[in-house]
Amino acid sequence: TSRSWDFMGFNRKVKRSVIESDIIVGMLDTGIWPESQSFNDTGFGPIPRKWRGTCQSSTNFTCNNKIIGARYYRANGDYSPYDYRSPRDSEGHGTHTSSTAAGGLVSKASLYGLAKGTARGGVPSARIAVYKICWYDGCYDEDILAAFDDAIADGVDIISLSVGSIFWSDYFDDTIAIGAFHSMKNGILTSNSAGNSGPSPSSITNFSPWSLSVAASTIDRKFVTKVKLGNGVTYEGTSINTFDLKGKMYPFIAGAAAPNTSQGYTSEDSRYCGPGTLDETLVKGKIVFCDYDSNADGPVEAGAIGAVFQSGRHKDYAFAYGLPLSNLNLDDGRIVFDYVNTTENPTATIFKTNVEDNQFAPFVVSFSSRGPNPVTADILKPDLTAPGVDILAAWSEALPLTETEEDTRVVSYNIISGTSMSCPHATGAAAYVKSFHPTWSPAAIKSALMTTAFPMSSENNIEAEFAYGAGHINPALAARPGLIYDAGEIDYVKFLCGQGYSPKQIKLITESNTKCSEVMNEAVWDLNYPSFALSTTPGDSVTRVFHRTVTNVGSPVSTYKAVVNAPPGLIIQVQPSVLSFKSLGQKQSFTVTIGAQLGNSMVSGSLIWDDGVHQVRSPVVAYAS
């Protein structure tokens, strides 16, 4: 990407590990466009010896020393005419996510001049293994699980998956949680997108404690598309408009004034500008005003020269369309609508999009799925946030820029938004950490990312930690976390006991003969998680004791003091409050007693272990469930 890494202080000159080129990032997605400059293998050495995967080469697909493996999965269902029966990406999404996680450096990348800069992934020297699981009609569970089965055995180091359900399921009724569990068992962290169903509470669907759940947030730029009316007044909307009308004024008409009556549509239909509702003879060559946002198929189909939408959506992210278009907010939209309706011969023009500073960044975007965790209320989810709004990255040249039929523009870099875009940022950051600490467990890498995250404020996200978890990833610092909250399979076994899984099920899942005791009902508070969540019923007071163990990975001899931030209504007590280490790898345990008296709300605090060099921060959340 051209900006996001710099935005979080992860610049091009950041220290790199010599073994970064041995790291293999497994991308479960729509495939890849192997000819993209982002995947050029110039300067790459031979494929790492640990690689056990394959490349499903064909007449239209070959791997190289950057893309070292590629397979596709489609066991049931048909192919569309647009689907390549190969790992080649016919959609764009997989190419975008792969280049965000591990794409090489490509200078002067842009979308028609927008977001211009040097595109790069988090670990430019790392290798990519592609597992194509998504097709024109979605991503099916049987294919997802097959890809996990292969990726784990192939020897990838990190798995990145920007896919999810609309509804949540229990851990072992969900292929992504199952795949992530076995990845964890094999020392592989799975990085998951939180989902795009926000901002409703509990809308997150990828929330297993053994995977990393990534929310999406803004970076310090926004895409502003100005609309100028014939009366000289200019309004600022959002969109990614790469078309240039060169300031020429065009006739402006309301969709409501142009119903396609020959097909039985009235102005109540055409005001929304849906496909077929507009009268081509009235709209052609004009800019049309629409009362709601859509993909603009209606105005394009009717031959409009441009469109202005008014909508309460799209306030914090932008889309590209098949014609010049700007989304106005409802206040400006109302004024522009009045102008169109009350002016004789109204005119307007739409300018090419400008990139401007977004001074409020970062904040979690509206669509990013929110916690709390719908299955285990006392494990905080999402874990953290990363850039996922208006991200420029590599694109498939198999398809036009927009879905609009008339759009024939093919681009090699595109700007899109989603937790799909934030997830590979976290994947890249995790791979970066792994390149310095190849023996660290998935939980240790996750801990490093979470405890070094930039703290965020509830000022711009009222859902606070349920929007951003531990905060915004800080990859440069994540390689030097000081302390880590480690966890392995046995810790998750105890957790599963507490979640009500039977010993029989647990033995099958983990091969462990652990007998679940009643004590393990409290295991959720003792899972060595790098964050603290405590739920209760509205109006009740609650107190719980959390047991944690940290491992020293910072200075061999160090003393950490507990720094607690607890607002009124939240009590956090740490025992002991000082931890002394005499060697690297030494573990120290402590308890955190959290008490809260809640009405119908949540309170947030934090615990920071501070040795004067490292600040190991964990969010603490108590809430009325």
């Binding site: 997605d29 729509t30 066991a75 049931n76 269902g77 959609e91 999404h93 998504c134 009609d137 979605g138 991503c139 099916y140 569970d141 049987e142 997802i144 699980l145 097959a146 996990f148 089965d149 292969d150 784990i152 055995a153 920007s162 896919v163 999810g164 359900s165 609309i166 399921s169 072992f172 009724d173 292929t175 992504i176 199952i178 076995h182 068992k185 094999n186 997108s193 939180a194 989902g195 795009n196 989603g418 937790t419 799909s420 997830c423 099920q505 033995k507 099958l508 899942i509 983990t510 091969e511």
Partner: protein, 87 residues
């Protein structure tokens, strides 16, 4: 997402790989034989046999067949395949 005879794709999850030299694919086929009428377990029924990193399979089943598998030893969960979405 299934077939015309009321069969739908189910995931049969069986946990970790069994220890020792066990052919998981044979195990999956024989489990299907036990619940399917006749002895027809072709690639049109058994879509995937997961055997490299964990144990399980994906198969086209009726609701009744899925219920029978759910009660078998060695099965952790049986659930309908969902269509997931890009985020």
């Amino acid at each position: 997402h299934g077939s015309s005879d009321n069969r739908k794709v189910y995931i049969v999850y069986m946990g970790s790989l069994p220890k020792g030299k066990v052919s998981t694919t044979s195990l999956h086929t024989s489990m299907l034989h036990e619940v399917l009428p006749g002895n027809t377990v072709g690639s049109d029924v058994l879509l995937y046999s997961y055997h490299r990193s964990f144990n399980g399979f994906a198969a086209k089943l009726t609701k009744d067949e899925a219920a029978k598998l759910r009660g078998k030893d060695g099965v952790v969960s049986v659930f309908l395949s969902q269509r997931k979405q890009l985020h």
